[in-house]
Amino acid sequence: MTENRAVTTLESDSIDDAVAELGDDGLSGYNFAYLDEHTKREVRRAILKGIAIPGHQVPYASRPMPLARGWGTGGIQASLSLLGPDDSFKVIDQGADESVNAANIRRLADRTAGVETTSDTTDADVIQTRHRIPEEVMTDDQILVLQVPVTDPLRKVDGSDAANRRRHAHKNYGRMWVHLYENVVEWGEIKIASRYPTMVAGRYLMDPSPIPRWDVPKLDDADTLFLFAAGREARIYAVPPHTEVEPLAFEDESFQVERFPDQSCDACGSTDTFLTEVETDDGRRLYSCNDTSFCAKRQDDPAIPKDHHLDASGVDWGPGTPNEGSETPDSEDGVAGEPAAESGGDER
């Protein structure tokens, strides 16, 4: 298939010069945003079908990338098919912009698409993330791309994708319910930590990727579009805005988020953000905000709410956001169909 007939008459009088004259060879001749247009079409078609069938895992021909499989190749293919020259791109891993792999992904996007990068959630058009949803509320002109290691929630109960595809086809999720029930019988509560199975738009059971349970309520009835992209397992799926996303739970054993009783961020004092434990050199264990960019804002202004950038008031993003000043986070809202039970596990 010879390309379109752009004819150039050779100026140089030797083959060496001619090849140089005809344009650089090798790496410097990158396509815009690295992917050739054919691959972008493949990813884009899958994204659109994913949005049209919320929660359904759409297969696509995932392209090998200069990034190892399992390190965000799905996410980067989705981001690079979205990003335009005037978009601003934020990349976080474990909630941190400065994390190694986030730096590597930003470098690839910058080198091949010349995209402006930012660490401010409220300033980004596209955010690629691994294992976290930002603390600040995302709006309807932003897109969150989540990296996905395991695409199917049923993988916990059956290794075979072929069998699981049939279960999804017929909305047959009995095995997952049995698994959760056995959890409760054996441990007294559901022991799933991250990748908590959620029902999307009442039809498809979905794996929200290894985000903590803390972030799962943010998916429900949000303003923003969530795209889940798996490179190695070659699937793309989506949660459109204003779509019901309900974590599986029983009436009496409601969905519990992580709790950090009597703890607050050592740096900014937050008690309403996801914290991780940090051990100092002198052996003290303390907690700090995981979303580093928001923590930086809280260090400047401890009272800044998560919806500071919106004109709407009242936060409906994520669990346990106290009204100003109150100490213990109140019960989690945003969990569809569940009476706001007293936040469990506090009797610790």
Partner: protein
């Protein structure tokens, strides 16, 4: 015997020819003749398809890197494709293909090179095969030794 005037055979001779010989000939042509480049030499992929002998099932074995180029010389088109990432040999091959097709003054020397190159390769192949035949074995003979 090889026939460099047959377009397909010439393509095969150019594809297998010693790259430096191609570049040398093409340098001569580019010096004194206007050459239009229709397809810039770029590395591309050929997906090797194989029909396996058991069930005659075709399958895709894997891709082979080649470099293709196309030029025009006084209105006569030339096309070449060579193995690997080899922009200079590909462009040179296209020039040689067009030069021979259009009867460029340097065509005779080019044909000479293609023929001698082919003969050399054939000789190497025949020696290679003879060496391999020296390792043909009749298993009974093997059993006597062990």
């Amino acid at each position: 015997m090889v026939d460099p005037h047959d377009r397909t055979e010439r393509f095969e001779l150019i594809a297998a020819c010693e790259p430096s010989a191609l570049v040398a000939h093409a340098d001569e042509v580019v010096e004194d003749t206007t050459v239009e480049v229709l397809q810039v030499p770029t590395p591309q992929l050929v997906m090797q398809r194989v029909v396996e002998p058991v069930h005659h099932q075709p399958f895709n074995l894997g891709e082979v890197v080649v470099t293709a180029a196309e030029v025009a010389l006084d209105g006569e088109q030339g096309f070449a494709m060579v193995p690997g990432k080899a922009e200079k040999p590909a462009l040179s091959g296209a020039v040689v293909d067009a030069a021979i097709e259009s009867g460029h003054p340097a065509a005779e020397a080019m044909i000479e090179t293609l023929v001698t190159d082919a003969t050399r390769r054939e000789q190497t192949q025949r020696e290679q095969w003879a060496r391999r035949k020296r390792t043909a074995v009749d298993f009974d003979e093997m059993e006597d030794h062990t």
